[in-house]
Amino acid sequence: MRNLRQLNNPYGEDKVIAACSIFGVMDTSGRRFTGKDVLRAIANMHVRGNGLGGGLAAYGIYPDYAEFYALHIMFDSCEGKDATEALLNNSFKVVKAEEVPTQPHPAIASPPLVWRYFVEANPEQCAGISADDYVVAVVMRINTEVEDSFVFSSGKNMGVFKGVGYPEDIGHYFCLEDAYKGYCWTAHGRFPTNSRGWWGGAHPFSILDWTVVHNGEISSYGINRRYLEQFGYQCTLETDTEVVAYAVDLLMRRHGLPLEVVARVLAPPLWEQIERMPDAEREFMRALRQVYGSLLLNGPFAVVIAHEGEMIGLTDRIRLRPLTVGEKGDMVYLSSEESAIRLISPELDRVWSPVGGEPVVARLKSGRRVSRGRSSELAKA
C-alpha cells in the first residue's frame, strides 16, 4: 500500500499563494536564440514580482548531449550533494557532471550549489518500466528522501534555472544573456505572500522536460494533489504550481492524451456548454470530466506549459488571470502583459487575448524537431 502521508516539503507548506508575471517565447522554425530578450521582457514586468522568486526554462540548449537526461540539481549542503551523487551513480550512467556556471550578482545572496548531470538510464536498471518513468522515480526519491537536494529539471536538451531574486537577476546570475541558445524560453517573476526564500520554490516547475510557469492560486490544489498521489507523484515543493507539471506529465506522457485534450482537462467547458455540443464531442467531453474531474484546475490561473517542441498558454475557464499572445513571423510570444512582448518585438503581426479556458499552442514546424521520439506521436494527435 502506498504511503500518502510521506512528508517531504522541508517547510511544511501545502501551498504558497503567489501572484506573478509569466512569459514564454518560441521560434517555431527551430532557430535558437539567447535569453537576452527574454530577460528584458520579464524585467519589464518587474512590479508583478517581489524578488522572492524568479526563473527560466530553456529548450534546445544542450544539443551536444541531446540524448541524455540533463538533471539540474540544487544542493544546500555538501552532504546532500554527496548523497545525491551516490544515488545518481547507483541509478544511472553519469556521462558528465559539472557545476552550472554562474557569475556574481549583488542582488543574489547566499545561493545554493547548482550542478548539472547528463545521465543515461540503464535499461536493466529500469526493470520493466520506461526510462522516463525510471527517471521520474529517481527524481521523486531525491526530492523526498535526500536531505538538502532538489531537482530543478530532468529533461533532455533543456534546463531550468531558478532561484530567489528577480528573474532578470537570476538570469544574469546563471549567465543566460549569452551562454545558452534555445528555441523556446519561458520565464517567471514571483510575488509569493508567505515564502521563506527557498530556491526550490521558484518557478518554473519541472518533471522530465515538462516545465510550468504559473500565475495564480489553484484552489483545487488539495484534490489535484491527492489525485496525483494515487499515481505516484509526490508534491515536494513549496507551491501549488507543481501539480500542473505532474498533471501534464500524467496526462500526456503516461495516458497519451494530446496537448489540446489536456488543456480541456485542466480548464474544461461548463456542463451547459457540453450539453450543447454535437454528439461525439459531447460524449468525449463528458467522459473527460467524469474521469479527470479531480484534475480540473480551479481558481485563478494563467500558465505557460512547455516541453520538447511545444509550448502552451492557458487560463482558467473564467479567466481570472491575464494572458496575451503575440505573433511575429515564426515567433510566438505568451505574456502576462502585452507591453513585455512589445518591448522586444514592437511590430507584431497579430496580438490577442485568448478567452478563458482556450488553449494557445505553439509547435515547432514539422521536420524541424530537435529530436524525434514521443513528439512525433503528438503530431498525429
Partner: protein
C-alpha cells in the same frame, strides 16, 4: 400491571383560547386529546403525548403548549432519567426496547468541529449569482484513464454513469415503513430536482414506475419485491448489507403494517410479518458479494451502476476496498447517527462509528490503494444541512443521502415513534386515515424547495472557496480545518487544526 412510567410531556390548554373545535382530538394519533362530552370540554391524557407537535401546529387558536414534564429526579450522573425509565419499561414489557429515527446520544458530531475556508485577496471569490457554478456529479465506476485515438476519438467505453444535479439524494426508506404518499413525494421531488431517491427494501409500487429514471431500487436480505421489472426500471441498483441505525441485524415489519398494497409490492401475503434476515443468506463473504453484484449486472445487461450499502463499522476501510474489488460501482456508508423506522434502542445508540471518521478513512484507504476512482462514495447518517453536505464532499464523498432531513421537510418533528406505526404526520405509517395527511404534490414541492435552498447555499460556499465546480472540492481536505479535535482525530480526518 400499573405502569411506573411518568408522562414525558405536559399539555397546557389555554381555556381562554380553546374554542372546543376538537382539531387536536382528531389530529392526535396517540389518543392524547379527548372530548369529554359530559363536561363539554377537551381534555388530555398527558402520559400518551410523545411531543410530535401535530396538535400545536393545527390548533387554530394557538391554545396549546407542550412542554417537557418538569419531573426532577434526584441528581445522579449515572442513573439519569433515561436509564431509569428504560429499565422501568423493560420491567413492564419484558422485551427489547424499540425506537425510531437516529441515535439521539451525545457522541461527538464531527461536522460541528470542522470549518471551511474562503478566499481573501490572493484569490477572488466567485459570485454564483453572476458566474456559473456547477454542482453536477456523475455516480458510477470511472476507468483509471481514457484512451483516445486521432481517428475515432474516444476509445475507452465508460461503465454506466448517472448524473445528479445536486449531490444530495433521498435515502432508502421502504414502503411499509413509510407510506405510499411519502414514496411518491420523494420520487416526484427527485425527478424534478434531478437527483435520485431510494425505494428501500420494500419494493416499488407499480404507480411509481414512471419515476424509474430517478429511482435507486434496493435489494436487501429479505429480497422483498425484487423481480426483473423492478431491477430494469431503476437507474441504480443498491445491495443493502447494513444500515447505520442497526448494523449487524435485520428488520421486522409487523404484519399489521402489511396492507393489501404493501403485500402486493413486497410480494408477501397480506398481514404476515416481513422479516429481513440479519445477513443476506447468500452473502457470507466478499466473493459471495461479488456474485450478487455481477448477478444484478447480468440481469440488467450492465446498463446500471450497482451500489453496495454498509453500516459504518470499525473496519469499514478494508471492507470498502473489498467491495470496490468485488465490482461495486458505488459505495454507501451509513454512520452511527443513521435513522430507521424501527430498531432496538441499544443497537441504534451503541453500534457503529461516526460517519465523518468512516468517510475519511475509506476515502484515504481507497486512494492509498489507487482505486478511489473505481467507485463513487456516498455517505449518510445524520446529515442536517448544506454545511454538513459540503463538509462531507470536502472529506471525500461524491454525494450524500438524506433520510431524516427529507422527512422533516414533509412535516416530521423527530419524535422517534416511527416504530409504533402511529405517526401523526402521516409519514411512518400505513394507516390510511393518517397517510392521507401527506399530499404528494405538496410533499414534492417541500422537498424540491429544500434541495433548492441547499443548492443555493452550497453554490455560495463553493464560490467563497474560489472554485466553480464541485469536483474541485471533492476530497479537497485542505479547505477544511478542525476546531476542538485531538491530534488523532485530525489525523484520521486528514485535516489540519484551525490556525495551521
Amino acid at each position: 400491571m400499573k405502569t411506573f412510567m411518568p408522562a414525558k410531556f405536559t399539555v397546557l390548554r389555554d381555556k381562554d383560547r380553546c374554542i372546543g373545535c376538537k382539531v387536536c382530538v382528531n389530529q392526535c394519533s396517540f389518543d392524547t386529546h379527548y372530548y369529554d362530552a359530559d363536561d363539554d370540554e377537551v381534555r388530555s391524557r398527558e402520559q400518551n403525548c410523545i411531543g410530535c407537535h401535530r396538535c400545536v401546529t393545527f390548533c387554530p387558536t394557538q391554545a396549546l403548549t407542550i412542554s417537557r414534564n418538569p419531573l426532577d429526579y434526584r441528581e445522579n450522573f449515572n442513573w439519569r432519567p433515561e436509564n431509569i425509565e428504560d429499565i422501568t419499561k423493560q420491567a413492564e414489557s419484558g422485551g427489547m426496547l424499540l425506537t425510531g429515527m437516529g441515535n439521539d446520544k451525545g457522541q461527538k458530531i464531527y461536522w460541528d468541529h470542522l470549518v471551511l475556508n474562503a478566499s481573501q485577496v490572493t484569490n477572488p471569490s466567485i459570485d454564483p449569482l453572476r458566474e456559473p457554478m456547477e454542482l453536477r456529479t456523475y455516480l458510477g465506476r470511472k476507468p483509471d484513464r481514457l484512451e483516445v485515438s486521432s481517428s475515432a476519438g474516444l476509445k475507452t467505453k465508460l461503465p454506466p454513469q448517472v448524473a445528479i444535479e445536486v449531490p444530495v439524494m433521498f435515502a432508502a426508506m421502504s414502503y411499509g415503513a413509510i407510506s405510499i404518499n411519502v414514496h411518491e413525494s420523494l420520487a416526484r421531488a427527485a425527478s424534478e430536482a434531478g437527483t435520485l431517491w431510494n425505494t428501500g427494501e420494500g419494493g416499488l409500487h407499480q404507480k411509481l414506475y414512471q419515476y424509474g429514471k430517478n429511482t435507486i431500487v434496493q435489494v436487501a436480505s429479505g429480497r422483498f419485491g425484487v423481480h426483473p421489472d423492478y431491477l430494469n426500471v431503476a437507474r441504480v441498483i443498491e445491495i443493502k448489507i447494513g444500515q447505520g441505525a442497526k448494523p449487524g441485524i435485520g428488520g421486522h415489519l409487523p404484519g399489521e403494517k402489511v396492507s393489501a398494497e404493501v403485500s402486493q409490492t413486497r410480494m408477501i401475503p397480506q398481514g404476515t410479518d416481513a422479516l429481513s434476515p440479519a445477513p443476506q443468506h447468500d452473502i457470507y463473504s466478499i466473493e459471495d458479494l461479488a456474485q450478487l453484484v455481477y448477478a444484478l449486472k447480468e440481469a440488467t445487461n450492465y446498463t446500471k451502476p450497482v451500489s453496495v450499502k454498509i453500516a459504518a463499522v470499525h473496519n469499514s476501510a478494508a471492507i470498502a476496498s473489498g467491495m470496490v474489488r468485488a465490482g461495486a460501482d458505488i459505495i454507501v456508508l451509513d454512520g452511527i447517527r443513521g435513522a430507521t423506522g424501527a430498531a432496538p434502542k441499544v443497537i441504534r445508540d451503541n453500534v457503529g462509528i461516526p460517519i465523518e471518521l468512516a468517510l475519511a478513512s475509506v476515502d484515504t484507504r481507497l486512494r492509498q490503494e489507487g482505486i478511489r476512482q473505481q467507485a463513487s462514495l456516498v455517505v449518510s447518517g445524520g446529515i442536517r444541512n448544506s454545511g454538513d453536505v459540503i463538509k462531507a464532499i470536502a472529506l471525500g464523498a461524491d454525494a450524500v443521502y438524506v433520510g431524516t432531513a427529507a422527512l422533516i421537510a414533509l412535516g416530521c418533528h423527530v419524535c422517534q415513534q416511527c416504530h409504533t406505526g402511529k405517526c401523526a404526520w402521516g409519514i411512518a405509517t400505513t394507516d390510511l386515515r393518517l397517510t392521507k395527511r401527506i399530499n404528494p404534490e405538496i410533499g414534492a414541492q417541500r422537498l424540491v424547495n429544500l434541495l433548492r435552498g441547499w443548492s443555493l447555499e452550497i453554490k455560495d460556499m463553493l464560490g467563497g472557496l474560489g472554485v466553480n465546480a464541485i469536483e474541485s472540492l471533492r476530497g479537497n481536505r485542505l479547505h477544511l480545518r478542525g476546531v476542538g479535535l485531538t491530534d488523532t482525530e485530525l489525523r484520521i480526518l486528514g485535516v489540519k487544526m484551525a490556525g495551521e
